[in-house]
Amino acid sequence: MTHPMVPRLWWITRRRRETHDTFTVELKPSNGSSEFRFAPGQFNMLYIWGAGEVAISISGDPNAPGSLIHTIRSVGAVTRLMQKLKSGDEVGVRGPFGSCWPIEQAVSGDVIFVAGGVGLAPLRPAIYHVLAQRKRYQRVVLLYGTRAPADILYARELERWRARFDAQVRVTVDHAAGGWMGSVGVVTHLIARARFDPARTTAMICGPEVMMRFTAMELEKRGVPAKNMHISMERNMKCALGLCGHCQYGPSFICKDGPVFSYERLKPLLAIREV
């Protein structure tokens, strides 16, 4: 077994532009091994030789472990270089790391996914799983908000999900010019319009921290218990093993104890600036 600090070599087999600053890469292991098992919500450390390593959530289908898929937003030095990678290029991969979305805990109840911006990517494996095992869940709701129509991630997939008769899928943007016939407004506004049984709902929320806080508050107002809400946190991760302390968040390490946390656990910390 490879030491968790040692990256394994993977080749990029496919690269797709999602939005002006976001792209998706599909990877295959260079040693020919065929499967990469992970749980929805987990992340990998992706390494560009000579540039550095970044934590990126896995955004592919957990039931199709033949390839590894990451959706990446180009925001820093390493991810900007990653945006230039093409098929055949090589990256280092360590992982999978971290906790996962409570997809088993959610069985038999309603499930609501609330995603903001690129936060849809870490939720996508859980959405794939729930839709693949649709009969095990009651109502399924996906609420997605982003900045503008051009920033909508996985637009075709959202259309496909919305066309299903067994899921409520709603998309909204914060700003829109003429020509956009969809919803305009913040994602929290969609919560009042969704149909679900609050007491029997598991909520999985991913997006900017402010958006997650407001979403959790709105869901609480609807009656969803804090213990049934889960959020995915992001901090500067280095070792991904809970050793270096870079991603310490109060008494927890985001890389080891998270990134997915129960909202009930983090709620007291989210309002503290110093944490």
């Binding site: 914060d174 016939m181 913040v186 506004h189 900017p208 958006m211 407001f214």
Partner: protein
């Protein structure tokens, strides 16, 4: 075939949820069913705010027209939402344009009629104002959230 009464529609709208029967009756006296086709303007900024609307279904875009940029959508409203609060405050004129994005059904409430009833019955006025303040609070929070540009 079951016929929906104006009273039933009003009482079931989230805005009027829990409102005393007497107040529902008073409001009903100022209400009428209205329908807008896709693309139809409900009001334009600058016009007199003679009505407000409790949207039953459909979708309405609240927008402002900017030279060289065209119409900019501020917010879209759907079934269960309230459209318009400019009727509450002088000079009672709309600030933005409202346009139906799809066929929209709503209850239109006559502003002069309702203001007169609120002046005559301050309990009704206070009850309605509390409900409008909640709408304003939610829209203000949303506007602040939008200003934060959290997805940038």
């Amino acid at each position: 075939m079951e016929t929906e009464t104006l009273e039933g529609i009003l009482a079931e709208h989230p805005f009027a949820k829990g409102l005393k029967d007497d107040y529902v009756q008073l409001m009903m006296g100022c209400a009428s069913n209205v329908r807008f086709e896709a693309g139809q303007f409900i009001f334009h900024g600058g016009e007199d705010a003679n009505q407000f609307y409790l949207i039953r279904d459909g979708k309405v875009s609240l927008e402002v027209f900017a030279a060289q940029r065209g119409p900019l959508t501020i917010l879209t409203l759907e079934g269960g939402d309230v459209l318009g609060w400019s009727w509450l405050f002088p000079p009672y004129r709309w600030k933005f344009d409202a346009r139906a994005l799809e066929r929209t059904r709503a209850l239109g409430l006559d502003a002069t009629c309702l203001r007169t009833k609120c002046e005559a019955d301050h309990d009704l006025g206070y009850e309605l104002l509390k409900r409008f303040v909640l709408v304003v609070e939610q829209r203000l929070q949303a506007a602040r959230f939008q200003l934060l540009n959290v997805y940038s």
